[in-house]
Symmetry: C2
Subunit: 453 residues, 2 copies
């Protein structure tokens, strides 16, 4: 009898294993692992501190290691592989899909890579060499070569007999590809069609010859957008002469979509998107310090700008108290725009044609926001500090900075993209530099002009 999945079934089991592991009940853990699917073991490894991973890995059935490695994120996989014998790694690669194999080999350190390649069976080595020949993040790098091809002139009955002889279809096969004698892709026949059409018909009459194929050089994110728009389950990959090279399946596309979406979020916090939640402390500290260093420079820059106004601050210490408000609001308003534009670029909604409209729109929002929050802060400050002129000064600074935030938030990512710099990574820091400096200048500068005796 099939079992309905309990809501927390997996989480409960993971919890139990972790407890057993902590109490040193290794035999019990090994027995539990033997009943788990590779994907669940992968989840367990991802959720474990790095020390626990090493112990767990030694308790895993070695036949499953290849399947588990396929499911792990790069960081976690590298941590495990670095402690494995190259011959064992080579053995684990035997059952891997071409694309996962290539991805894993790419991430190996050079010395281990050589040893692993050396220990592989010759056919696997050829398979690896082919997969590695396509650039990373291209359609070629996420494609599999296990396509089932048929000729256009045979009848469906012949195809049906051929499939029954074959006995098995590669995982995730939803259509067979029709090729001519030069192996050029000319159409596709879905399994559903094979099952519902009369066996006397020829392949040519039933095949979908408007079926789109993917150039092997296309960027994986573009491929993912096509899959998403067209609701594909798999798609054929061809070279520039329409020769069929392989196919891309939806499971790999799901990974690309997840990674792309996470990439923006992680990059905006200055994190690597493969960053492992349970990595060792020193490794995590090192990785994150780059971003803190960049931020220190911008913070010092802001302090440097403020230092021009030290004599003003000396006379009016109340300015020091209020000085953080305007940059803070500018930062938030700017990062709203920035996030929206980065998302819009990632899903392909922003192009040459609508850029100008977008800038004008964010300029207008900045102005509207500016008026709104300027009036509010003027009221608050005038009442709090009982100083109407001070209220006007901070209102002016607020308006200027929210306007600057709107313009900067919309234009910085477009500008960075033109320079081929990842806007998700660099956008935030450039933006806060702008809103900090404009905010401080506008507030302290106006105050110096109007308030100094």
């Amino acid at each position: 009898m099939p079992e309905a999945i309990e809501q927390d079934n997996t989480q409960l089991r993971l919890h139990e294993i972790t407890r057993a592991l902590n109490s040193g009940m290794f035999v019990h853990v090994r027995r539990m692992l033997a009943h788990m699917a590779p994907c669940d073991i992968a989840l367990l490894l991802e959720s474990s501190p790095h020390k626990g991973r090493t112990v767990l890995w030694q308790l895993v059935d070695s036949d499953l290691q290849g399947d588990i490695l396929e499911e792990l994120s790069e960081d976690v996989r590298n941590g495990i592989i670095s402690q494995m014998d190259p011959a064992l790694i080579a053995a684990a690669t035997e059952d891997m899909d071409d694309d996962d194999l290539a991805e894993m080999l790419r991430s190996l350190p050079d010395t281990i890579y050589q040893e692993v390649i050396g220990s592989m069976a010759s056919q696997d080595r050829e398979r690896a060499a082919l997969a590695l020949s396509y650039p990373e993040e291209s359609a070629g790098a996420i494609m599999n070569t296990d396509t089932v091809t048929i000729r256009p002139d045979v009848t469906l009955d012949v195809v049906l007999r051929y499939l029954r002889l074959k006995g098995e279809l590669p995982e995730g096969t939803d259509e067979l590809y029709v090729v001519d004698k030069d192996n050029c892709f000319i159409g596709a026949v879905s399994l559903a069609l094979l099952l519902t059409r009369s066996p006397d018909l020829t392949v040519r009459t039933v095949m979908d010859d408007h079926c789109e194929s993917i150039p092997v050089t296309m960027d994986e994110s573009e491929v993912a957008q096509l899959f998403e728009r067209h609701n594909w389950i798999s798609a054929p990959v061809v070279d520039e002469h329409q020769h069929l090279l392989g196919r891309i399946t939806i499971d790999d596309i799901v990974d690309v979509i997840r990674e792309d979406a996470e990439h923006s979020m992680m990059s905006m916090a200055g994190l690597d998107d493969e960053e492992d939640t349970f990595a060792p402390v020193v490794k995590s500290t090192k990785r994150r310090s780059v971003w803190l260093g960049v931020n220190l420079i911008t913070a010092l820059l802001a302090a440097f700008v403020a230092s021009f106004f030290e004599s003003t601050l000396d006379i009016l210490p109340v300015l020091a108290v209020l000085n953080g408000i305007v940059p803070s609001m500018g930062g938030v308003a700017g990062s709203q725009t920035l996030t929206l534009v980065i998302r819009g670029m990632a899903v392909g909604h922003i192009n040459q044609a609508n850029q100008r409209f977008l800038l004008a729109k964010e300029f207008a929002i900045g102005a509207l926001n500016g008026v709104l929050w300027a009036l509010l802060i003027a009221g608050v400050v005038a009442l709090w500090k009982w100083d109407f002129t001070l209220g006007c000064v901070i209102a002016f600074a607020m308006f200027m900075n929210l306007l600057a935030a709107g313009i900067a938030g919309a234009s910085i990512p477009l500008f960075l993209k033109r320079l081929n710099i990842d806007p998700a990574l660099a956008g935030g820091v450039v933006l806060t530099t702008v809103t900090d400096i404009v905010g401080i200048f506008a507030f302290l500068g106006t105050a110096t002009w109007f308030l100094l005796p």
Copy 2:
């Protein structure tokens, strides 16, 4: 002949249409739209300013409107629907999948909803009522009822003949579901199996009876995690008695994955994840102002804390110049931790068992970061302001704040989740409140203690 997709084909075409639209060449635009797939027209609408959308929509063939509405995001769809006649909306819903239909109906304003339901054919109305009976974001809400079911005791040959009689399978069908006489789900037979196994075998002997089924009440994000882990293309949905209710297909799961991943990123900037890049200015301003208001309160809170030290700032204006550095570094370090934990929670890597480890790890990183950046800032400030004690004061504040940032970044999302508050939405603002206040207190407080004459 099938065509390989040019890298920028779609974008180029969109650009051309936008240009034609702007020059008022409506007949030309209508002709171009007639040759485009619904998904491409949807992309065009998403990438157009709201005024352009209205014009475009009137040029679209009304037969395609249902398919296009299915592909649009909620915000854009609502904008278009609000200008449509309810009878036309009802007509457009005829070809929609159950789940898309329910999603659209849910997002309609009450008055339009009543009119649309009133104009629908009775069978569509029943279909809609059923789909709407499941809670939003549950498995039931993203399921379709178009399953193909077979009995366990017939031979494959009977199934094959049945399918040929049926003539067509629902889109995205990769397996048939086996049910008993009470419509209880007992297993699945893939199309690939049907094609490769001997027709004399019975369904029972070839079916996969370990196939997992999804409870109709399961949360859609959990369903998506299962699909992702198991590389499913579709999965059966059952009620609490194992009765087969429908199936979920990977195309809907892809939407869930994309939305979940975007949700975190958008929420962290205080944006709605359905936020439309090209919405009208006033609407966008209103939506974003909530977040700016919340931020203004935290900024005023920080100013209020700083105002305790106004007399200190009066004597030592250099503190005002440096006062932004420590809170800024705390904010960045904290949001790195926060982002990592929110991502970890979203992909299911963080659970009861490893929470304590995570807190300890982030505490250690905070301490390590604290020492590192405290030493650096001490050096910079001591040299810049030629004041060793001042360097020590800012170093101490930096250490304390980075430690606080690590602890707050890891514990705030865990804490918010326990209170059933979305950590992606509220986490950032709670965090900056903590790092701002700790940063200001630590810096100005220590300075008051040690530096005042």
